[in-house]
Amino acid sequence: MKVGVYFCRCGGIVSDKIDADEVHRRLVRLPEMGYFTAIDLACSEEGKAAMTADLAQRGPDRVVVIACSPREHEETFRAVLANAGINPFLMQMVNVREHVAWVTESGQTATDKAFHLARAALARVVHHEPLERREIDVSTDTLIIGAGPAGLKAAITLAEAGRKVVLVEKGPILGGMPVRYEEVFPRMECGPCVLEPFMAEAMHGPHAHNIEILLTSEVVELAGSLGSFSVKVKVSPRYVDLTTCVGCGACIEPCPVSHPNAVNCNLSTRKAIDFAFFGGLPNVPYIDPRACLRLAGQEPACELCRTACPVAGAVQLDAREQVVDRQVGALLLAVGSSLYDCGRLPELGYRRLPGVLSSLEFERMAAGTGPTGGEIRLSDGRPPERVAIIHCVGSLDPKHNPYCSGVCCLNAFKFNRILGHKVPRARVSHYFRTIVAPGKDECDLYQQAASAPTTTMLSYRQIDELSAELNGDGRISIRQDTRIDDYDMVVLMPAIIPSESTRQLAHLLEVGLDHRGFCEELHGRVDPTKSKTRGIYLAGTCQAPMDLARAMTQAASAAGLIMAELVPGRKLPIEAIHAEVDADRCSGCRCCLAVCPYKALSLDPDREVAEVNPVRCVGCGTCVATCPSGVIKGRHFTNAQIFAEIEGILT
């Protein structure tokens, strides 16, 4: 085996310090040494052309390039080898510029160090193996989980680019949380008005043919990786046909069952067949099978809704659950979040005292589409006269959630504005720990609240300073140390927390969760919309608490990244440097599975041996060093190669 050695003088920068002839003289004694050629500037166009011609003519078995940092020019010289018809991985670079010439005082010492590094490269390169950069065909379709603002934005963006999208939503309607809000901060636009164009576009827009919407649906199984995921989606029946129903609502009135409407925080009731709420899209009722007398088995013959329906076949009482398969190239997780249970702070009176509401209950009460038609009122129907809004319920608190959700203060000031319009005589007190209102528009909302004559700002240090009790005349007394104020309505602003769906889906999709339980991003600053599992992207509050603007930005970001990674007509290159398991010698101990954060390793269920998914593997080599049986090979960084390099460097 003959190694061709190229020594780049780097225009004199290297050769002024390192004696190329001396390195040559000492290398010649090595058995693997083939020939030695010095080049003035190997990375220049002339240098690359000369090297390509020389390599093509001499055809060495392996190549060593003594030059600069491989971080700068490894790809350059790999391309030179490829152009000369030599496998690009049969080359090793020796970094004598950054690591020797520039940092060593004496020329003699520098030359000696350069020789040892070159000797190590020669010893290593004979163990190099030709590697292929494989390419695989990919699907450019995307499956999005969650049809809230982020999911809708991503779906529309991808559809507009001509990409096929499967939009999977657990609930019966689109729009997620903000569609249930009367107004969204900071500009106080109405929530449905902001989101309706997105929902209309996804359902009936010029690119809607690219979006398949699956409502009342959940992902139940996932296999594969970036470019070729295979997903099973369980589609639960709505019992009302989305295509034929005209949304007249004739089916609702005859239904004999009323039950609490969870979409309205159980502040109102709905029939077993009903709309989610007035204006919820698609404008098609659905049946809750747990409430329906027929579907729950109590009145198997009841068909009052079907009889009342003027469209034949629209009410489908015999519909069955289906599981559908979809093949996609990427997944986007946009399942939103939950609110911290205010009942975990019992002192504040939630679920204990009438008139104590969570922020979401207040949102629904304030919404024209909500249980009171937008009227803010107490249980006896009167409007409130004094309202307390308590910030940081379960936030910035090591006993509950140590982080700041970043949106609750602004939501509280939004409530202040809503109260000012709807109940102008009401006096509002904000109990706050610290005010968080960053952004170019957001401070206005705070200023308006703080300067309103009806508003009082009361500061507290710890939430345990506050306690709520019912006083003699049926109002709520909030005690803070010695101060006691009476209110007839108290609104609590709970922290945003990861939802149960996030936890379940993260487990199913093998997406990691961070120490707070949100979906863990690849990098918080530079890659917040990629998960650590290649091909699975994140957007919205399943990744972190955030406002609508940031969720929308993340969705567009994820859509852009998916479009860049999966391009129609282009194959997906697979990194040549990845791990490889010798299945015949693997004991199935799973140590490697535990150390890989990319979920690139899995256990073959039949053979009980580890296998590497080369699309997911990033080639870090941790599993290679971890394997107690030594049967994982790190391609291009094999034990044999590194041992030879160590020996060469020292002899």
Binding site: H99, V100, V103, T622, A625, I642, I646, L650
Partner: protein
């Protein structure tokens, strides 16, 4: 016999590609001079650092080992340098059993921007190993006919 001051230790540096190798490149670009005793083997991540590499280096004539990775929390591969930190602690225990001082296997963290720190760590390590003197190796222990383990008599 050479005095300790003249002793030029041989040290093998295992550097991760993303932070520490880049930090070494940065020291180069800034033309910060440092001793030439450390010869670098590039690995993609310190997570790849197999304790066998250090043993191989000691067996092949190294007087010291230097493992440099990304700062904890900054690993290019998320958390793999923590695997190296765990392994390093175990490895020091193993070295003790071989009678090799723990200071001969230093683990430190150098980011891509820390060219100065790289040069400083190199200088400190070279001084520390120089102070320890050359690594004293014993012949490989072979069981005798009775199966007992006896150290060879040469301690040179």
């Amino acid at each position: 016999m050479k005095s300790q001051r003249d002793f030029e230790p041989k040290i093998v540096g295992f550097l991760c590609n993303w932070c520490s190798y880049a930090g070494a490149d940065k020291a180069g670009a800034a033309q910060t001079t440092y001793p030439a005793n450390v010869r670098v083997v590039r690995i993609m991540c310190t997570g790849r650092m197999d304790p066998q590499f250090a043993l191989k280096a000691f067996a092949s004539g190294a007087d010291g080992i230097l493992v440099l990775g990304c700062h904890p929390g900054d690993c290019h591969y998320k958390e793999q340098n923590f695997r190296m930190i765990q392994r390093h602690r175990l490895f020091l225990g193993l070295l003790r059993q071989y009678g090799i001082e723990g200071a001969r296997c230093r683990l430190d963290f150098v980011s891509a921007g820390e060219g100065d720190k790289f040069a400083r760590v190199i200088a400190e390590t070279v001084e520390a190993i120089r102070a320890l003197g050359p690594l004293r190796r014993r012949p490989i222990v072979q069981p005798n006919e009775e199966g007992d383990l006896h150290h060879g008599d040469s301690r040179a």
